[in-house]
Structure formats: structure tokens, C-alpha cells
Amino acid sequence: MANENKNNSSYKVYVFVFFSAVLLALSLWVVWDDEFGLRPWKKYQEEFKTMKHDQLEKDYRKAVVEFQRSGGHKRLAELEAQLAKAETSFQSGGTQEKYKQLTKQFDDLHAQSAINQKELQNARGLFLETEYYFTKTQKPEYKVKMDELQRQIDAITLRGNALQKKEEVLKNSISAITSGKAHLEAEIERMKSGLEDLKEKIANNNKVAVEIKQIHIKDIDKADRCQTCHIGIDGKRQVSLLQPFARHPASFVYLDHHDPTKFGCTFCHRGQGRATTSTEKAHGNVKHWDEPLLAGDMTQTSCLNCHGDIKGLRGAEEIVNSTELLKKYGCYSCHKIPGYETMGDVGPVLTEVGTKVNYSWAVKWLLDPKLYFSTARMPKFFFTQDQAESIADYLFSMSGTTRHDVDYSKETPNAKLVEQGKALWSQARCNLCHTTGGRGGNHVKVYAPDLSKVGSKVNKEWLFRWLKNPNAYFPGTKMPRFRFTDEDIKSLVEYITSEYKDDEAEPKYVQPVEIQVASIKKGKDLVQKYGCYGCHKLQGMEEMVQIAPSLKSQGVSFLRGDEMREKIGTELSSIGSKPLEMLDFGKLKKSIPNDRLSYIKQKLRDPRGYRLGLRMPDFRLAESEINELAAVLYGFTDSNVPVRFMVPSRQELDRMAGVQSYKFTGDFAKVIADVKCTNCHSIRGIGADYAPDLSYAGSKLQEGWIRNFLANPDVIRPLLQQMPKLGLTSGKPAAKITMPRFNLGQQKVEDTNRTDVDVVINFFQQELVSNDIPKKIPVITTMTMPEQISKGKNLYDEKGCKSCHQIGTEGGALGPNLSNVGNRLNPGFIFKHLENARKFKPDIVEPDYGFTERERIYLTNFLMTLKLNTK
């Protein structure tokens, strides 16, 4: 029994010992883990310190070598020897005694003059006091006393001056004794300082503490600890290109404008700023953290957080390009998107579409627009044949009662008219906007339909009316009214309908067929359900276009008629920060990562994939377009941004300041509405940016030249033809990038008796002028004109202007051709432009030469002589 007990207890001891050992081991592990395992940044910081130390050491060694190579060390030794010599000579031969003696004398004198100064102060005080009594009482005894005091003051001042002079003399003789030495000491100090600084830098680097580096943004209590690992991110000098040590790329754009100590990192890059325990956690690539790190170009999506207006924003180029897609596809037509509320319709007016197109074409188009042309913007709604016909019936019923087609394929076109039309087609440069046969067109910025098969789509009568006055059919269209005569238009219509035909078109209703009333009703319901009015103007649904229905994230309800008050699609104003649990991944069969960005991309890829009953159409976007659009949408957040970070758009600023945004007035507004200058040109912030800015055209251009140019546009910047990057040609060779000929000047503007060219010129000269641009340039009277011109020519050659500009046949083609500049530009503009080219065009490539006023006058006078004879 006793034996058994003993065995039992020794067994218990082993268990006790075992678990004690486990507990000890665990405790030690906890300490180790807390010190090192959970603080990997310590290793990074040590490593960075070592690398920086090595770099500084190298600098130091290099500096030492350089110092010795340039003989610095010899010179230093020499100086030190001289100093030692000066020191000995100073201490021997009575110099030191003399120095001491002089210093003592100087000190005495200084004490004396201090006493003197005090006496002077006293006397002045008394004088003022007496003066005060005298002015108060006017008693003569005060006057006497004042005179007495004045004499005293004079005497003291004299004495003081004498003392000061003596001091000066003594000071000079003292410095004469020590100057040699002082000079030597300063020189030695100076020679040593460069190396000493480097040494100090090394010492300072060694002293840097290994610690968590945190940026705390107080007002929203955001703490970013990214720099704990990214230790060199805002360093002045690259220490290592490896992560996490590298500097921020393009920091002159990003960090210089967003001081990291004020903005932190996660405002733009997202991620989990507080985490320091592992890369995955810090970068937010972990479960339950909804804001994974944004890197590379994707980071630009964050510009949208604060910048109201990103157009032209340096460093935001990618996201600016991406937002063009948003405009191209008109996402804002169905979804509420901040900043896009006032954008116009993407699609054409459909109110009288029955008078325009063939019924068969309309049905085919509704089934799948890309069957008609591959660059069609309109998405596919997955209608059945029956549904498509109902919608077409509804649309046709607004302007008629029949389904009808026209078929020109059997007719023989009038050859003469076709010939004339073809000439007009190229003269008017239709291909600048419209694509035909895969050539020309600009699908990115000015979106105009592909006309390759238009002959099988529209009828001749409509085309005639359209070309005569596009605004009559579609108010607000981008299509300009060319000033064609009726004869011209007839020939153009003949050319277009005969040349651009669809061989596969099957016109079924050449014999018109009555439309069924039930079908119209069904079509109208479909139009409302799928929100066609979002992009197209439809009779009786105009209101809905503006404020059509809202389906916030919860619940989809099909509102009808008067109930429609908000947009049809989900509000996108904060899609980029929508909580993950509010995104409905639903019935998706495919497995995608469970994050916001993947959700958005999948939605764009397969708009109706998440569940049944979704109405969003399929835009058939390319993967690159999906990525770009997703990047933009990801930037629409309602994240907590301090107001002081916000950069409102220009419109917003104007609104806040109560400034009315610029509006065209008078007859010029009529011309603009007709010719649509702002499709390409920008005038006072209105319009597009791929033709020259005309905001100050009145000050810039000469009247005669404008007249000439409008009559016969020519290329000013020849090189632009080869620059598809500007989005003018979307990569394909275009006919010729220059302004179309609008035939201005041949017709009178409505309700006036002035021609449109006169109106344009009048407006340019009245409105589009800048007070900064002088009408005339200063005149130099001391020099004859030919002398000035020849000086200007010399300057032109000297500064190498011809490497970019062309005169005659000589010179580069990057800048405008100057052969005819004397006829084109006003001298005042040239004069001002040479002073500061960036004033009127901030992103101009022209270098700033810093010309003096005289030089600018010479150059201007020279340039004004460059004229071509035009008849």
C-alpha cells in the first residue's frame, strides 16, 4: 500500500515538472514574440540604419580622398604650422604683454564710456523734466535751467565721442596683433567643416532611435504607422531601391504637395495604417479589413477623395483618362454620381425617331447595337425579338402609326451628285468625328456615330433636314450646322446613302404595316422599366430624365410615372467605401475574391450576374475599360476627409464666391449653338481641350487672319497629326487633323443682318480679350526699326527657336509654324507671350528664356515681319 502511494506521488511530480517546463517555455516565447516576433520593423530600421551608415561612410571616405587629392591636407598642415608659429611668436617677444596691456586699457576705457553714457541719460532725463515744467508754467527759471542742462549734455556728448574714438583706436591695434591668428583659425575651421559635417551626420545616424514612427491626424484621429517600416519614404536621398526602404516615386508631385506629416499615407493608399506586426496586416490584405492597399496607378483613384476637379491635375493622368469613360458611357444617366449631375444626355433624342430610321434597323439595334457597328456605345439590354419590336412600336408610335422601312439598294444613284457629295464630304472633314469603314472618327472625346452603314439606317428626307439644321431635330446635339446650300446637301445625301450601305440589312417593312396598340403599351412599360429616358429624350418622360428613380442599396422597387423622382440605378456617390456586407454577391456562380473592387469589376463584366431581376444592361466593356471604370468608382467614397484637405472644383469655388459661370451672350451664342466651336475649343473654361484655347483670341489673333482661317483652315501645328496620344484619332490614322470648313461668312445669323464671321470677330474683339495683353508694344526710339529687326533675328537664331518652330521650310515642327505669324498674331500677344508663356497656357512646353523687355521688343518686331502673301 505504501509502495503504491509512493509510486503514485512520484508520477505526480513528473507531471508537475513537465507542465512547469511547458509554462516556462510558453512565458519565454511570449516575451520573445512580443519583443521581436510582433515587431518586425525593428529589423527593418536596423537594416536601414546600417545602409545609411554605409552610404554616409562612403561619402566621408570619398570626401577625404577628394580632400587629399586636391592637396587640402597639405594646405591644412601648412595652415596649422603657421598657426603654431603665430602662437609662439605671440607668446614670445613681449607681444603677449602688449596684448594684455592693450586689453586692459580697452576695458578701462569701456567702463569710462559706460559711466559717461549713464551721465548723459540722467542729464537728458532732467532736461525733459524741466522742459515739461517750462511748457506748463512758462517760468523763466526753468528756461535758464534748460540752457544749463543743454550745455551739460553737449559737454558729455563731446567727451563720449572722444572716448569712443580712443576705443576704436585701441580695438584696431588689438586686432592688428591677433588678426593673423584669427584669420588662420577661421581658415582651418572652414577647411575642416565639410568633413566635420559628414562625420556629424554619421554620428547622428547612429543616434537615431529604433521606434514606431507615427503620423497622427488629430481631427479625425487617424494614426498611420507606415513609416515605421517605410523608413526612407520621404528621405532626401535614395538609400536603397528595395522595399520597404525606397523613397516615394515621383515625390515631387505627390509628397511635395501632400506633406506626409499632415496627410499621412492611408488617405491615398488605404491599407491598415495602425498595423505594424506584419506586411499583410499593414497593407490591409487580411480578412475583415475592407480597405486593402492601393499601389501604383490605382492609387490615383484617391485623388477623387478631395479634388473636385481633376482635369489637368498633375499626377492624376490615369484617373483623368478613366473618368472620360464615365462620360463616354454616360453612367451618370442612370446612377447618381457626384459632380456629374448636370451632364447632358448621352443618347440622341428619340421623340421623332420614326421619321428618321428604318423599323427593321431599330429592332436590330435594340437587340444588339454592336451588330450594327462594333464601337456602338449603347449597351445590350438582352431584349427578346418580341420585346424589341414592342419598344420600336412605342417609339414609332410617337410620330406615326406604321412600321416602315425604306430601301435604296435597288435605286441607281445620280453619279454627278455623288461626285459632288464626295468632294464636300472631305472638304467638311466629316471623318474628323465620324468613322467610316474603320477609318477616322473620335470615339473617345467627341463621340460621333459610325456612318459606315448609315445608308441602310436613315431615310433621305430626314438626312436632308438633319444636315440643313441639326438643332431642329435634336436640340443640343454636338453636330455643327455646316453652312451648306440646299444643292450641297442634296449631293451629300446622295453620296452618303449610296456609299455607306449595309449589305446585310433586311428591310421587312418596305410595305408599311399598322402598329398594334397593345404592343405600344408593352413597349412603353419596357422603356420605363429599363429607363431608356436616362440617356434619350422621350416625349412625356422629360421629367424622368432629370430626376428619375432612386434605388438606394436596399431593395429594388419599380417606380412608375409620377413616382419617379431619382435615378434608376444605385447611387454611386460612395460606392468606393460601401461596407462589404451591403454588397450583394448573391447568385454569382463564379468564385471571385470577397472584396469591393472585385465586386465592382464583376458587376461591370456581368451586370445581371448577381441575382435575377437586375436591369443594368451589358456594355460589353473591354477588360482594360473595366479596370479603368472600376478605378474611378472605387474613388467615390464618403470617407472621413477633413474639410481642410478638400480642393473644390472651379465651378464649386465660383458658386461659393457667388460668381456666375461664364456664358456666351448675344449673337455669338447663336453661332456657338450652331457651329459648336466648344466641341473642340475651350473658351473661358467652357468646352474641350484638344483645339487651341480661344479665351483670349481677341487679343491674340489678327482680324484678317481669322477671316482667312475660317474660310480656309490650315494646319498650325503640323506635328499634331502624328500624335494619336492626344485622343484625336484613337490610334488610327486620320484624314487630316485640322479644323473643318464650316462655310462661315456666307450666311447671315438669325434675326440680324451680320454674317457669322462678323459676329465671331466682333465677339472675339469685344469679349475674348485680356487686359494683361497690351494692344501695342513699347517703342524704342534710340534705334531704327531695321536694326531692331536684325537684333531680333539674331536672338531667334541664338536661342535655337528654330529647333521647334518652322519658318519657311526650315526648322522643327513641335511648335507652331511661324512663317505667317506676322499676319496671324497681334504684336502685344507675342510681346507678352515671350515674357511668360505659361500665363495663358500653364502646360506649354516652350522654355522660359527670361528675356529682357528690350529683347522681347526686338523679337516681336522681327516676328511681325514674317508674313506670307495671301491673296
Partner: protein, 257 residues
């Protein structure tokens, strides 16, 4: 070394020593009993325990382990309170900081979190054991009652502590939990007969729990105060009664034979 007894003697005659330890301790039955009687904490416990009653296979030691878990939670909880602000802006980031930055924050928080789960499990096993051994029968029926209260308090501690990190898990748990309260008869606005008391969402029991009509800053503060102050205090008092009753009811219940 020779002077050691001298020093020991001097220390033991010192007033401070005497006032703390009161008497000499000679390892005999009487002194052992005196040591238990004379100590405010130990006197809650029976002076003598039968050998059969402490057999692990009979009691499983679950009551003691529960108490041990409770002490661990009090200590870690107090330290955690140094690093935590019960506001909706800071609560979650404070928890994150415990993980990322506070020295020994990870072990501290995990001890508290896992310790809480552990206590809930252990307390239920304790109840199970007491039930299966029939220890709820007379004369221990009062202590069983106390035990039931302590079980509920343990659950409430766990429930209120769940919201403190202010994460999705806690938020929805409290939302669901308090919505159940809204269905209480008479006192909840969705419960039966509540209309006779003029109960609305703004004066019912749910409102009292949340300090508002929905889970927000007030709910967080309330759950924090319940969790850190009120419920632990009540629990400690009941625990004293519980342990005292164990002694008074004849010590830990033992097997029939």
C-alpha cells in the same frame, strides 16, 4: 549564519509582524484551523475537507477553476481598461492598438477573451456536475439558487463584454440580443400587453439597455459600465455568499458512501 535565529527572533517580535501574523504557527491541527479562521479570505472555506470530497473524479474541480478564471479575467480586465476608451471613435482602434502596439497587448487581450470563453464553458460544466451529483438537494438548495444567479451573471458579463471591441460581431450580437428584449411581455414595445403600459420604442426595456433606440455610443458606454463595474461587483458579492454557503452546508458534497 550564526546570527540568523537572533534576527528571526527580532523580526518576529516586531509590532508589524505581530499585527499581521498574530500568532506562531506550529504545524498541528489546532493551528491549521486557527490559520483558516483568522484569515478573512480563507475563513469562507471549510476548515476541514473530507479526503473523498476533493477527489478529482467526483468534483472535477470545476468550481475552483471557474473562480481561477474569474480572477484571471479581473486582473487582465483591469490592465485592459488602461488602454481602452469606451467611445465609438476610439474603441475599435484601441483594440487594434492592443494587437499592434501595446507591449504584451496580444497576450493580454487574448487571455481576457479566451479566458472569458473558458469561464463560460467551465461554469456550465460545474452546474452539470452539481446537478448530476445531486448536490442541489437539501440542505444546499439555497446555494444552488445562488449558483443559478452566478451563471446568469457570467453570461451577462460575456454578453456585455462582446460589444466593447465595437466590431461587426459585437454590434450585431447586441442588436439581436436587445431586439429580443423588445419582445418582452409588458416591458418591450413589441411584447404582448405592452400597449397597456404605454410602452414605445423610447421607453421600453430595450431603450433602457441601450440608452437609446439603437446600438450607438450610449449602448457602448452602458455595456462597458455593466461589464467592468456593476456586474463584477454583484458577482463578487454573490461569490462570497456562494463559498460561505458551501462551508455552512457541510462542505463540498461527497459521495453517498
Amino acid at each position: 549564519m550564526k546570527r540568523l535565529p537572533e534576527i528571526t527572533d527580532k523580526v518576529k517580535r516586531n509590532l508589524i509582524w505581530k499585527s499581521i501574523f498574530r500568532r506562531d504557527y506550529r504545524n498541528n491541527v489546532r493551528d491549521r484551523a486557527q490559520a483558516i479562521f483568522g484569515n478573512v479570505f480563507l475563513h469562507l472555506h471549510p476548515v476541514q475537507v473530507r479526503e473523498s470530497a476533493v477527489k478529482l473524479r467526483f468534483t472535477w474541480g470545476m468550481g475552483g477553476i471557474t473562480f481561477f478564471a474569474f480572477i484571471t479575467l479581473v486582473i487582465t480586465g483591469v490592465v485592459l481598461m488602461f488602454y481602452y476608451h469606451p467611445t465609438i471613435d476610439q474603441a475599435y482602434t484601441d483594440i487594434k492598438d492592443l494587437e499592434f502596439q501595446v507591449p504584451f497587448g496580444v497576450i493580454l487581450r487574448n487571455l481576457h477573451r479566451w479566458g472569458a470563453h473558458f469561464m463560460v464553458i467551465v461554469v456550465m460544466i460545474h452546474m452539470f456536475r452539481v446537478f448530476m451529483t445531486g448536490s442541489y438537494k437539501a440542505p444546499r438548495q439555497f446555494n444552488w439558487g445562488i449558483g443559478v444567479f452566478l451563471l446568469v451573471l457570467t453570461f451577462l458579463l460575456s454578453f456585455t463584454g462582446y460589444l466593447t471591441p465595437w466590431d461587426q460581431l459585437g454590434f450585431w450580437a447586441i442588436t439581436v440580443g436587445t431586439n429580443m428584449g423588445a419582445a418582452t411581455p409588458l416591458l418591450g414595445y413589441q411584447g404582448p400587453f405592452s400597449e397597456y403600459l404605454h410602452i414605445t420604442p423610447y421607453n421600453d426595456v430595450r431603450f433602457a439597455l441601450l440608452g437609446g433606440a439603437q446600438v450607438g455610443g450610449n449602448a457602448l458606454l452602458r455595456s462597458y459600465i455593466w461589464h467592468c463595474v456593476a456586474i463584477p461587483l454583484i458577482s463578487i458579492i454573490l461569490m462570497f455568499v456562494h463559498f460561505w454557503r458551501v462551508r455552512k452546508d457541510g462542505g463540498i458534497s461527497k459521495p453517498q458512501k
